[in-house]
């Protein structure tokens, strides 16, 4: 029988943090000794972004138990809010790190607020309906940003949904968000170190939330809504809490993403439906509700296409085969039995009776 203890939870969390820190140290060592190609180095920040996205989506899908297909939308909100702030304050706040931290907070808060507003009506829906509405939300956000023009001049901010000319900017005015061309010239503040710090921050928030009174309430709603209500748990409050926190963390990932690029555009590729699905694939493959699994699958699935680049056209073929194999390895009952039979725990603790 499966046995959980409080100590095991803490131990599990420590292992998760340990893996992240160990991975960071190893990567830093490899970078400093010049063993990592510049291509791989360029992947490090996106990797952090995807890990944060996967962990935050797991809060909605695995812990709250609601299917959301609009996670890229929240990331988009965070990315543009953060980049907008950075662009505006580039001259005002001279310290890069401080400006970036403020941008992260602003991006996360903006995405959190949007998550809250979307969640209020949408979380009353169940199952497929919620998925459809969140999917639509992601597309709507992306399309709104594509027609959004914001400029700044001496008299303040100008705003338009038509084109940059209709902003009517005065002398010395500057277009900050330029419709489909997005934001150009965002300061490149994102580094691998900050990415890792943000991953750890995300983990602290998500893991500590799960193992607290609120987390219990959220998971009880997932397991049985009617019973949760019958013991006096405020369904709406906790659904909204989980959903908004998840959105805010996605927003944070968005800010990190935006500050890794010199020009930020809302295209179907980065903030569209495919992105939302990809994050969901990380979560499903890593195990729904399994935070560490999300991290691992996000890392593997981000690196895989790059590692397979040498195979040119066969790359995506192998990628999909590996996806299927991973899915079988994770979920097929026979393979689970086999894994348990030959697990490290068993091999190392042969003396202990196995239940």
């Amino acid at each position: 029988m499966k046995k959980l203890t409080i100590n095991k939870n803490t131990k599990d969390n420590i292992i998760t943090y340990g893996i992240i820190i160990a991975a960071y140290i190893v990567m830093e060592l490899l970078i400093n000794t010049g063993h990592i190609s510049s291509l791989m180095q360029g992947l490090l920040v996106p990797l952090c972004v995807y890990v944060i996205l996967a962990v935050s989506l797991n809060l909605t899908v695995g812990i709250l138990g609601e299917l959301s297909l609009g996670h890229a939308g929240f990331m988009c909100v965070g990315a543009f809010a953060g980049a907008f702030f950075s662009k505006c304050t580039q001259g005002v706040i001279p310290v890069d790190l401080l400006r970036f931290i403020l941008a992260i907070i602003i991006g996360a808060v903006a995405a959190g607020i949007i998550g809250f507003l979307i969640g209020m009506p949408v979380l009353r829906l169940r199952g497929d309906y919620l998925a459809i509405v969140t999917l639509a939300f992601g597309e709507i956000i992306k399309n709104i940003i594509n027609v959004l023009y914001i400029g700044k001049d001496s008299s303040g901010f100008h705003f338009s949904l038509k084109d940059s000319l209709s902003l009517g900017l005065g002398e010395g005015g500057e277009v900050i968000i330029n419709g489909a061309q997005g934001i150009t010239g965002t300061p490149k503040d994102a580094t691998f170190t900050i990415g890792i710090i943000l991953i750890i921050l995300t983990l602290v928030i998500v893991l500590n939330l799960i193992h607290s009174r609120d987390g219990r309430a959220i998971m009880s709603i997932r397991d049985n809504l009617i019973a949760a209500e019958s013991i006096g748990i405020n369904i709406t409050k906790y659904k909204l809490m989980a959903f908004s926190i998840s959105a805010a963390l996605a927003g944070m990932a968005g800010v990190l993403y935006a500050h890794n690029l010199s020009s930020l555009m809302a295209t179907p590729k980065n903030f569209g439906y495919n992105m939302s699905i990809m994050i969901l694939v990380f979560v499903v493959l890593g195990g729904i509700g399994n935070i560490r699994g999300s991290i691992i699958s996000a890392v593997i699935l981000t690196l895989l296409p790059e590692l397979l680049r040498g195979l040119s056209n066969y790359r995506m073929l192998i990628y999909s085969v590996i996806l299927i194999i991973m899915m079988l390895f994770n979920w097929s009952p026979k393979l689970i039995n086999l894994r348990e039979k030959y697990s490290f725990k068993r091999l190392f603790k042969k003396t202990r009776e196995v239940q």
Partner: protein, 253 residues
């Protein structure tokens, strides 16, 4: 003394179907009260009305002098009614102790921020919650399984866990919906002891739905028999069970 639960003229219709009609009940504090009747008589519907799952079409529900008619389930739970379900509704992916701790939710509080930042109040409150939850689990002899997943408990223990979780919300009135369903005679005997124990030690008032006549006649002091949504008979257990009407409609010869 005023009754703990006083229900007058309670009724609900689903479309053209009159599921419950003119239902009245008066339960004194500390009483063990039974609600029986054939399948489809409206017993669970009455539980759902009492706990706010359905809004009554008419009637008044008074709990301890407070009008709780038409309140939401959450508010009714806070006012003091907790229940179990006919088809067990546990939080299956949570551990046994977390199920009970979820029941303690409204009585032991710290803010979300305190939880995420792991401030001292988090550790203090969680420790108190664990202690209280273990106390409750001991009563139901579930303390050894505290860290199992609820889904992995055997059936009889799942039923007990549901009662423990309901008690964790510190209700004034406990509603048990067929607590002995699916239990073998031994388990039923054990359950009867537990129910008595809960009543005596937690100073609890209990209303239960049950088909097991041995359990009903063994522990219930008063009964209401329901048939087609209406009260067929009401009163002391022995009298009701010998009522010829009840025998024809429900018990059989």
């Amino acid at each position: 003394m005023a009754a703990l639960l006083e229900v007058k003229n309670l009724g609900i219709s689903f479309g053209g179907l009159r599921a419950v009609d003119d239902f009245e009940i008066s339960i004194q504090k500390g009483q063990l009260y039974g609600l029986i009747g054939p399948n489809g008589a409206g017993k669970t519907t009455i539980f759902n009305l009492l706990t706010g799952v359905y809004k009554p079409s008419e009637g008044v529900i008074m709990l301890d002098g407070e009008n709780i008619t038409g309140l939401k389930t959450i508010e009714i739970n806070k006012a003091g009614i907790a229940r179990t379900f006919q088809n067990i509704r546990l939080f299956k992916e949570l551990s046994v102790i977390d199920n009970v701790k979820a029941g303690l939710h409204n009585h032991y509080k710290y803010s979300t921020l305190e939880g995420i930042l792991r401030l001292p109040s988090y550790f203090k409150t969680e420790k108190a919650m664990t202690e209280r939850a273990m106390e409750l689990l001991k009563v139901f002899e579930l303390d050894e399984e505290a860290n199992y997943l609820a889904a992995n408990l055997p059936y009889g223990k799942q039923r007990k866990l549901e009662i423990a979780r309901a008690l964790a919300t510190e209700p004034k009135l406990l509603l048990l919906d067929e607590p002995a369903a699916g239990m073998n005679p031994n388990e039923t005997m054990e359950l009867m002891e537990t129910i008595r124990f809960v009543r005596d030690n937690f100073d609890m008032t209990i209303l239960l739905i049950e088909h097991d006549m041995k359990l009903v006649s063994g522990i219930c002091e008063e009964l209401t028999v329901l048939n087609f949504g209406r009260i067929l008979a009401q009163g002391e257990t022995a009298g009701v069970l010998n009522d010829p009407q009840v025998i024809t409609a429900y018990l059989g010869e």
